[in-house]
């Protein structure tokens, strides 16, 4: 910003900074509001009298004798067994990430190193698959899965999520492998390695930044999924997100919306921690596809 012509437009700078501040005011407060409100009673979070009650916890003070209450969390975790769905989510997400990365690195590496025309068509096919709305695929799973008696179990959902993840994983890892110089593995092969040995001993040690970034996005896809897990898991195997969705119906009737609020906050926290630690990787991952075109 040493250029005087750029420095001159202070009014524009104020407008643009103001705009960013405005955006931040829209982006963050809903989360803070819900986090704060989850420690209040329903009469405060959904206050008929005055919205500031949610800030000061007026009804919370009257009903529980304290400014903060963990009743919502108690209801969700202890009474409604939210903990089980947290375990299910962990199983589903971890397995999905590991399996998709294993398949994805092999495939992505092959696509990046093969100059054949069909590798372009495989990538195009993957793009077409990526465009399919997940729920349309899910409607094709039901009858076969009922027939084979595999509907409702965690492994079924894991394998489906892995498959749905593949197009994206392939694209992303393909573009990461393109950035690793060809000479690296080819010189290893000149020295007598087979293609797989070159992959194992030369490529794997240097591919981790790309794999971590892709893994993050696989994680997000599996964690945030609603269409697949809500329709393919039975009641007792539910993961967090479908569990929250089914909370909506039951808690509304019982007047326990705060259970759902507490569950929502519980599910949201891991994501925030993830962004905090992996912000750089997420940003680079989002742009990897774009820069490559």
């Amino acid at each position: 910003m040493s250029n005087p012509a750029q420095r001159r437009s202070t009014s524009l700078a104020i407008i643009s900074t103001g705009f960013v501040v405005l955006w931040i005011m829209v982006a963050a407060p809903p989360f803070l509001w819900t986090l704060w409100g989850s420690f209040k009673v329903q009469g405060d979070f959904f206050s008929k009298a005055d919205w500031t009650n949610a800030l000061y916890g007026v009804r919370t003070m009257i009903e529980t004798g304290d400014f903060f209450t963990t009743n919502g969390y108690y209801g969700a975790w202890v009474e409604h067994g939210f903990g089980e769905s947290v375990i299910n989510t962990t199983i589903v997400v971890v397995s999905t990430v590991i399996i998709s990365l294993t398949l994805g690195t092999l495939g992505g590496y092959a696509l990046a190193r093969s100059g054949f025309k069909y590798s372009f068509w495989i990538l195009m096919l993957a793009l077409v698959f990526r465009a399919m709305p997940h729920i349309t695929l899910v409607s094709g799973y039901f009858l076969p899965f009922f027939e084979w008696n595999i509907w409702g179990y965690l492994p079924t959902s894991i394998i489906v999520l892995v498959a749905i993840n593949q197009p994206f994983t392939l694209w992303m890892l393909h573009s990461f492998f393109l950035n690793i110089p060809k000479d690296l593995d080819e010189s290893a092969m000149v020295d007598g390695c087979t293609r797989f040995q070159a992959f194992r001993h030369v490529i794997i040690p240097v591919m981790w930044p790309g794999v971590v970034t892709t893994g993050l996005f696989s994680f997000l896809l599996a964690y945030n999924d609603f269409a697949v897990t809500a329709s393919l898991l039975s009641q007792e195997n539910q993961t967090m997100i479908p569990k929250i969705a089914s909370f909506l119906g039951t808690t509304q009737v019982e007047g326990n919306v705060m259970f759902a609020v507490a569950a929502v906050v519980s599910a949201m926290i891991p994501l925030f921690i993830l962004v905090m630690f992996f912000q750089r990787q997420i940003v680079s991952g989002l742009t990897a596809g774009a820069v490559k075109g």
């Binding site: 250029n3 960013v20 982006a27 509001w33 819900t34 465009a131 349309t136 749905i164 940003v283 075109g293």
Partner: protein, 342 residues
């Protein structure tokens, strides 16, 4: 790389995609041509002291037997596509001949479940996508001009609406605009109208869903544009400044052309993702005023009487919709690729 090696490397991934993406599509096509079995009825004459009468009962056993023998249901051709819940040709021609003017016709049209969902899905896609692109670019330009220490935290906060689970993000918004929630209550007191509800009116519900969509997707286009801005050469910008271009002209004639491939990328991703909108409708419980194609499939699949044939027909129509939507962009990519390849 020899074909054989390529084959062994790609086969696990390709198998997963063929088994769980390509085959389901075939299964969807087959299902869409079948309809669930009717219940097997037995009519018998039951005679009592006051004469005989015809009684019809459902043969539960035979019905269950038929359903296990032929889980697909019975073949029905294109009935699933043309019936009232999908393309509804009969209802449309009836509405056309019975309506006095266009608005009456459209009213009737939008009462048909498929067209109601299609109308919202298309509106959502074509309103959210341009807004996301423009807003994302504006935020990116703003953040780019910030001092260095402020950039990191700003990007962190900006990522949150996108990273959060769609179901959760839309629920958070939904609770805030509830009549008793903070935004809903504030709006009521602002307009001094305690009966004002963002949920009751279809127009406001559509608006809130679209606002959610923009809020959720703007960070994605912001990040892509922000990264793109780092690659705009400063030489060109300086040359433009020396030639007397003001800030707006520099953006219009130097920055925007550099962003063009990014706009194509974001448009492609956004069209795909917005067309499948499902979670906000579930969270907002907005089915009375707004449904989407994904939502009607979801409802057919998860309601007590699962209508696989109906869900499959809607799925096929949705896939055709996605194809039509993406064809121009895909064609462009293909043309660019074949141009660079030769």
């Amino acid at each position: 790389m020899p074909h054989r090696t390529f084959f062994w490397f790609i086969i696990p991934s390709l198998t997963a995609m063929i088994l769980f993406i390509a085959f389901p599509v075939i299964s969807v096509i087959t299902q869409s041509l079948h309809v669930e079995h009717e219940k097997v009825l037995i009519s018998s004459e039951s005679c009592g002291p006051f004469g005989c009468k015809q009684v019809t009962v459902i043969d539960v056993e035979a019905t269950a037997q038929l359903r296990t023998d032929q889980p697909l249901g019975q073949f029905s051709g294109f009935d699933n596509y043309t019936n009232r819940n999908h393309l509804a040709f009969d209802e449309i021609s009836l509405a056309w001949s019975n309506s006095e003017n266009m608005s009456m016709f459209f009213n009737k049209l939008l009462n048909l479940p498929f067209y109601k969902a299609l109308a919202f899905t298309l509106t959502y896609t074509f309103v959210v996508t341009p807004f996301v692109i423009v807003l994302g670019l504006a935020i990116a330009l703003g953040v780019n001009a910030l001092p260095k220490f402020a950039k990191g935290p700003t990007i962190f906060v900006s990522l949150l609406p996108m990273i959060v689970t769609p179901l959760i993000g839309s629920l958070i918004l939904f609770w805030m605009i509830d009549g008793d929630g903070v935004i809903g209550a504030s709006i009521q007191s602002l307009f001094n109208d305690p009966s004002l509800s963002l949920k009751a009116s279809p127009a406001l519900t559509w608006m809130m869903l679209i606002v959610y969509g923009i809020w959720h997707s703007a960070p994605f286009s912001f990040i892509v544009f922000y990264a793109g801005l780092q690659t705009v050469p400063t030489d060109t910008l300086e040359a433009a400044t020396i030639d007397g271009a003001n800030r707006w002209q520099r953006i219009r004639y130097v920055v925007v052309p550099y962003m063009k491939p990014l706009v194509v990328f974001i448009t492609l991703m956004q069209l795909m993702d917005n067309f499948r909108v499902l979670e906000p409708i579930v969270s907002f419980a907005s089915e009375a005023s707004a449904t989407s194609l994904s939502w009607i499939i979801y409802k057919d699949l998860t309601s007590d009487t699962q209508l696989f044939g109906s869900a499959a027909a809607t799925s096929m129509l949705t896939i055709v919709g996605v194809a039509i939507l993406l064809l121009p962009v895909l064609f462009r990519t293909w043309r660019d690729f074949s141009r660079t390849a030769h």
